[in-house]
């Protein structure tokens, strides 16, 4: 990216077309609907992982056209930041296709993945976007970092500092951000992986809070990252752009976070896929992101493991994988919580579709983010195992397999089993899963084996 690009973006943020946010949204809704029709994009509930290259390319072209027409809406100035078609195409072509995350022997290379790519995804973990308690946060992070198949850690979000609620933009946010970064740093050290990439400290909602997480000794380093967020859909503001500037200053990893809503401004599956592609392009052009965290969630259930969510992930992954060099990360969001089989089945569905359709892995966003501490490292181990077992699958095979996995949990989407908190599914002293939680793990793994997944690791240890 040219060195004066942020200067140019600031100029456009101040001089682009003025439009009220509501009018921007109404125009966006109408245009997405037109583009879905124009590009003949069709959801098929009987084929959730379509092996349709042409439709994938049409989804990309529709998303590209949408982004060129709408650009990014800057909430700070109520103006559109617009780019020409040629600018977007040029910048996307130059985007990074691989990035080194972490340092020393714990560093990993996260790459652009192709459709049905045999290269294993990098696995990100941690309670990103999920509320954690001060009491169990250190053990929870260790439970992820110690998993051998996990490559990266997210520090998650603790809503209090020494028992006091953290208010954004206050001293407590800065103290909380530094504390959470230190807890993550200590977790990777205790796991014997001090150079593991930490992808974000989620508690701060402001740029100053994110900046406070950086500390080469006890916090984030330049080999770590922070999330630069988009507001749904195609929106940014000066606080987010300031994070990009900070990451330039310290040489940190820029993680583009988008949270498109299934049933949101994009509407149904087809429109949500189109706007999701446009969101990724915003992350490339506006944020100069190193990789892109696709945190798709259903407007009502806050998950992406329903049929619409699976199809959108399949199409967005293929569209971007086939038409850009960028590095995709699929954030698996589920309605179930730790200590339930449903959580593992949901994770399996997300891992299969993501692996086959060009994503790296992130997970799991349990309980739709509603329940504090209802998550653990074990489900990320499962994501990693299922992902590796899915590397040989074709899209056609994945499309047949996923409905079979969904049978295990589809009836619980509207009335989810939220499970139990970390301290009830792990021994908090040894930071090991309880026998009951492990038993569920192996039981679900056996179910997946029966459905045809071939795991690299032994199913259940013999007694």
């Amino acid at each position: 990216m040219q060195s004066n690009w942020l200067v140019e973006i600031m100029k456009r943020a101040q001089s682009g077309p003025f439009i009220k946010e509501k009018d921007f949204e109404l125009k966006l809704i109408k245009r997405i609907k037109e583009l879905v029709k124009e590009y003949d994009i069709k959801y098929d509930a009987n084929d959730l992982v379509p092996a349709d290259d042409d439709m994938a390319d049409r989804v990309y072209q529709a998303g590209l056209q949408l982004f060129v027409e709408f650009g990014a809406y800057c909430q700070s100035t109520e103006r559109q930041i617009l780019f020409t078609h040629d600018e977007v195409v040029d910048i996307v072509a130059q985007a990074p296709s691989e990035v080194i995350l972490g340092m020393g022997k714990d560093a990993v290379v996260m790459r652009h993945r192709g459709v049905e790519d045999p290269v294993r995804p990098i696995v990100h973990s941690g309670p990103t976007g999920l509320p954690a308690s001060e009491e169990f946060h250190p053990q929870i992070l260790l439970s992820y970092a110690q998993e051998p198949l996990v490559d990266c850690l997210g520090a998650g979000s603790v809503a209090t500092y020494m028992g006091e609620g953290i208010i954004p933009g206050t001293p407590l946010e800065l103290l909380g951000a530094r504390r959470d970064a230190s807890v993550a740093r200590e977790a990777v050290r205790m796991a014997g992986r001090p150079g593991m990439h930490i992808n974000d400290v989620a508690v701060p909602l402001t740029c100053s809070g994110k900046m406070a997480a950086f500390d080469p000794d006890a916090g984030l380093r330049s080999c770590d990252g922070i999330l630069v967020s988009q507001m749904v859909e195609l929106k940014t503001d000066y606080d987010q752009l300031s994070r990009v500037a900070h990451l330039y200053n310290v040489g940190g990893i820029t993680v583009d976070l988008m949270t498109p809503l299934i049933g949101g401004l994009g509407g149904r599956a087809e429109g949500t896929a189109v706007v999701s592609v446009a969101d990724h392009l915003l992350g490339v052009v506006l944020y100069d992101a190193d990789y892109h965290m696709f945190s798709l969630t259903h407007l009502t259930y806050v998950n992406n493991t329903d049929p619409l969510g699976i199809w959108i992930q399949a199409m967005v992954g293929q569209a971007l994988s086939r038409n850009t060099p960028i590095i995709l990360l699929n954030d698996i969001y589920v309605v179930s919580g730790a200590g339930t089989k449903e959580l593992l089945y949901e994770c399996a569905a997300g891992a299969v579709v993501g692996t086959v359709c060009g994503f790296n892995m992130q997970g799991a966003g349990t309980t739709g983010g509603f329940n504090r501490d209802h998550f653990s490292g074990l489900e990320t181990r499962f994501i990693a195992e299922v992902s590796r077992a899915s590397l040989s699958l074709t899209r056609q095979e994945a499309s047949k397999l996923i409905p079979k996995i969904m049978k295990f949990y589809e009836d619980t989407l509207s009335e989810p089993n939220r499970g139990r908190p970390f301290n009830e599914v792990y021994d908090v002293d040894t930071v090991q899963p309880t026998a009951e939680w492990l038993d569920m793990y192996y039981s679900v793994k056996e179910d997946m084996s029966k459905l045809g997944l071939k795991f690299e690791y032994a199913p259940r240890p013999k007694a």
């Binding site: 109404l26 979000s157 809503a159 909602l205 809503l261 949101g264 509407g267 009502t300």
Partner: protein
């Protein structure tokens, strides 16, 4: 003049389909033909938007359909209000609700859905937008003679701002003058009960809650 069947049917369809231009055109045509504007509101607009809300709640409709129906209703309402004023009639809203996403929180999709649904059900809604400071809530409550104050928070770190807002209402001695309610991803029924305010977990529930609060005896 009550609403003729042909107007009733076409206008209902326009609202349900979220067709802004058609809804405006039929409303104009009906008013020119002497149809009672209050009849259009009560017999056509409110039932049609209630149906849209129901379809949204059951997952048949998504946000675009809800927003377009809301836009069609807003445009038609302007025409109807002008006609009501011109005729000397009075149109009483169900109540006035001041709504905002609390200080520090930029997530407003859920709040926007609630605003659309409340308006569709006949409430006068004062939407304060995102990142609303406690004093902006108290000022708006007084300036608009509000009945209900609705606060939204998605993030766990912005939930304390709801408590801070409630505290300011109490400190100013106006807590008992308004019904306070909250919703959003970080809010639970237990927590709302703990701090003494109303709660709804979704937009349809928020409408029902506001209706109940308007029916309930004042504090």
């Amino acid at each position: 003049m009550s609403v003729p069947e042909s107007v009733h049917q076409r206008l209902t369809e326009a609202f349900i389909e979220g067709d802004v231009e058609v809804a405006e055109a039929i409303t104009t045509e009906a008013l020119e033909a002497g149809v009672d504007p209050l009849g259009i509101i009560n017999e056509v607009m409110v039932p049609a938007l209630t149906e849209v809300g129901n379809r949204f709640q059951t997952g048949e409709y998504f946000l675009p359909e809800l927003m377009m129906a809301g836009e069609a209703a807003e445009k038609a309402s302007k025409l109807l209000e002008d006609a009501i004023v011109a005729s000397g009639q009075a149109s009483e809203p169900l109540g006035t609700v001041v709504v905002g996403t609390v200080e520090g929180d930029v997530h407003d999709i859920g709040k926007n859905i609630v605003v659309t649904m409340l308006r569709a059900h006949g409430f006068n809604v004062v939407d304060l937008g995102r990142r609303v400071a406690p004093s902006a809530f108290t000022d708006a409550a007084k300036e608009n003679n509000a009945d209900i104050i609705g606060m939204s928070s998605l993030m766990t770190t912005t939930r304390p701002a709801i408590q801070n807002t409630v505290n300011l209402f109490e400190e100013l001695g106006i807590r008992e003058s308004y019904q306070l309610i909250a919703g959003g991803g970080s809010v639970t029924g237990d927590w709302a009960t703990e701090i003494g305010i109303g709660y709804s977990e979704d937009a349809a529930g928020a409408v029902e809650l506001c209706k109940q609060l308007m029916d309930a005896p004042s504090n």
